[in-house]
């Protein structure tokens, strides 16, 4: 069964057509890579799937149900969107990792947070580090595990390795691979040549249309 379906989805802002009649079916556990020129509408697809915006035409389904009929808060907790060059909240790394727990009114599970930090090659001392002292790669890794503390069913990744050094890229790739192997469905946007080579299902978007 498809976990995400886009049926003839279009998106228009005023007179500008961003996406035109996109059909996309993502099976549970699948990893799909979206690529294409800048401004072709790839990130808009992720924003639509995460329900941060709604299609002007067409329908998006999650597990067979129209997303427009689902509660947006609980939906976004299952279909989690990680931004390109994400911003961190509050003062410290811990503030960011505490945030998903606060949203769910659950006590902060520090052990789980530390385990995830280790998975992205950051040790426990990072919890109390001030966010402005982190490098770009470290910020991206913290943001990514912020999305994974409560593992989502679908992970939407918007060029999450852009601008990262090779070491950070390798760490992020490994983490994403692990989650995919454990069953998380992944829909990602990338321009990175290595990621495009590794992609097992590649879709090209050009001028708002699916061309391949």
């Amino acid at each position: 069964m498809d976990i995400i379906e886009l049926n003839k989805v279009s998106y228009q802002v005023e007179d500008k057509q961003i996406l035109k009649e996109i059909d996309l079916h993502v099976a549970e556990g699948q990893r799909i890579t979206l690529t294409g020129p800048s401004g072709s509408g790839k990130s808009t697809i992720l924003k639509l799937v995460s329900s941060l915006i709604s299609p002007t035409q067409g329908q998006i389904n999650f597990q067979g149900k129209d997303v427009a009929q689902l509660d947006p808060i609980s939906y976004r907790r299952q279909v989690s969107y990680c931004f390109q060059q994400p911003s961190l909240f509050g003062t410290t790394v811990a503030d960011n990792l505490r945030f998903p727990f606060e949203l769910r009114d659950e006590p902060f599970n520090q052990q789980q947070a530390v385990e995830l930090l280790w998975q992205v090659d950051l040790d426990e001392s990072y919890l109390n580090k001030k966010i402005e002292t982190l490098s770009g790669g470290e910020k991206q890794r913290v943001a990514l595990i912020r999305n994974l503390l409560f593992p989502p069913k679908v992970l939407l990744l918007d060029e999450v390795t852009t601008g990262l050094d090779e070491n950070s890229k390798a760490i992020v790739h490994k983490l994403i691979r692990n989650y995919h192997q454990e069953g998380t469905t992944i829909l990602e946007v990338t321009h990175d040549a290595t990621e495009l080579d590794l992609a097992n299902y590649l879709i090209t978007i050009k001028e708002g249309k699916r061309v391949k």
Partner: protein, 253 residues
């Protein structure tokens, strides 16, 4: 009090001060001469009308008429505060509720503590001061909200994408906006009496009240303005931020 009467001749002669402003505008080619004349004409007409209305209300000293006058002041303040909201989806009811609560709670406290009495000569000017300051605070809140939704757009979207409810996602924006709205009142409280003698205190001294007694009123006014701007800012912000979203909790502006 006899000395406080301005003759009509003095008033006409004082018009020379307006001519100074128009002269500067003409000499410097600022293009403000017409606007200055219109604003002066409006001020004169409005003040003459208000002067006669106030004389009538003060003379009648009727509870319901005084209450109606406060409602008119609050409605006008709300109307103007609402116009300062850059969001096209703004709602007059937001400003109205913020200023009704901010003004009447503050007014109620002033009455309950015995600082003022329910007489039109006290209620109407005080209502004007409270609602006027509340109006400025609401306007500042709306502009700060608009700027914050622009400047802090991505962190906001990230909070929503993590499954945040609307209020939690907007908390940093709300705090920033309320702080922006309250800051001028707090700043002016710090410099009151040092930079300028505020209107209330000046008015009392002008009327011959002992300056030491006049400051007591000014202290209460300072407390009153803090309360009014605080209440109005919080209510207007907590109502207006929702106008930036649709029912799917999507940023929609």
């Amino acid at each position: 009090m006899k000395d406080l009467n301005i003759s009509n001749l003095s008033l006409v002669l004082a018009f020379a001060m307006v001519m100074i402003s128009i002269g500067i505008s003409t000499h410097e080619k600022l293009g403000l001469a017409k606007d200055t004349l219109i604003s002066v004409a409006r001020a004169i007409i409005q003040l003459i009308i208000v002067g006669y209305i106030l004389r009538f209300i003060l003379h009648l000293d009727n509870l319901w008429l005084t209450l109606a006058a406060t409602l008119v002041i609050i409605f006008n303040a709300s109307w103007n505060a609402n116009k300062r909201d850059p969001n096209p989806k703004r709602k007059l009811s937001n400003s109205l509720l913020a200023l009704l609560v901010g003004t009447y709670v503050t007014l109620g406290l002033l009455l309950a503590t015995g600082v003022i009495k329910w007489v039109p000569a006290q209620i109407i000017p005080i209502t004007g001061m409270i609602a006027g300051n509340g109006m400025v605070a609401c306007g500042l809140c709306y502009r700060a909200l608009n700027n914050s939704f622009h400047d802090l757009r991505q962190p906001l979207l990230e909070r929503l994408a993590l499954g945040s409810d609307l209020k939690t996602a907007c908390l940093p924006i709300l705090r920033r906006s309320i702080k922006t709205a309250m800051q001028p009142t707090i700043d002016s409280a710090k410099t009151v009496g040092l930079v300028s003698l505020p209107g209330m205190m000046s008015g009392l001294i002008f009327a011959g009240v002992n300056p030491v007694n006049a400051i007591k009123y000014q202290i209460v006014i300072t407390f009153m303005l803090l309360s009014a701007t605080g209440i109005s800012s919080v209510i207007s912000c907590y109502l207006a931020y929702k106008n930036y979203f649709n029912e799917r909790i999507q940023l929609d502006y």
